[in-house]
């Protein structure tokens, strides 16, 4: 809290920490999603073959969706900045 005065606004350490938190958040969500999509039960204490490949594909697809959403978001935001819609009928 007693940081040097001018490093306040864009502290590179905080940026790195935030990035890491973003990655940790991404991982933890992916883990939850892929567990619920790929692991139907715990009747066995090991991963079955089918579960393993499901996990692999789930990770692969999750990354692809992550990337796609990022691109789409940016594209949308640029569009939104350009046209700025006004009317919102209720």
């Amino acid at each position: 809290m007693n940081a040097p005065p001018n490093a306040e606004q864009i502290d590179p350490v905080m940026v790195a920490v935030t990035e890491m938190q973003g990655l940790a958040d991404l991982f933890s969500r992916m883990q939850n999603v892929c567990w619920s999509k790929c692991i139907p039960n715990v009747r066995e204490g090991i991963l079955a073959m089918g579960e393993m490949s499901c996990v692999d594909r789930c990770v692969s697809k999750y990354f692809d969706v992550h990337k796609m959403v990022g691109e789409k978001l940016q594209e949308q935001m640029q569009k939104a900045q350009m046209q700025q819609p006004g009317a919102t009928p209720s």
């Binding site: 999603v33 999509k37 594909r57 692809d64």
Partner: protein, 72 residues
Amino acid sequence: LNDMQMQDSLNTYNGLVERCFNECITHFRAKDLEKAETGCIERCVTKFMAFSQRIGTRFQEKNMQQATPPSQ
């Protein structure tokens, strides 16, 4: 505060990914996205943006309405 905002938008982003993944990805027969899936993701993001804008506007209206100015 700035960090908090960064954190917030990251959460929104990651939340949107999770939402659209759950909505659009239903099987794992292959590791690449299929055409139907990418189309669904696109609509999901567009729809979420529209939803998000509308709900954000309504939220701010309500929030202002409700806020009583602090007497200091």
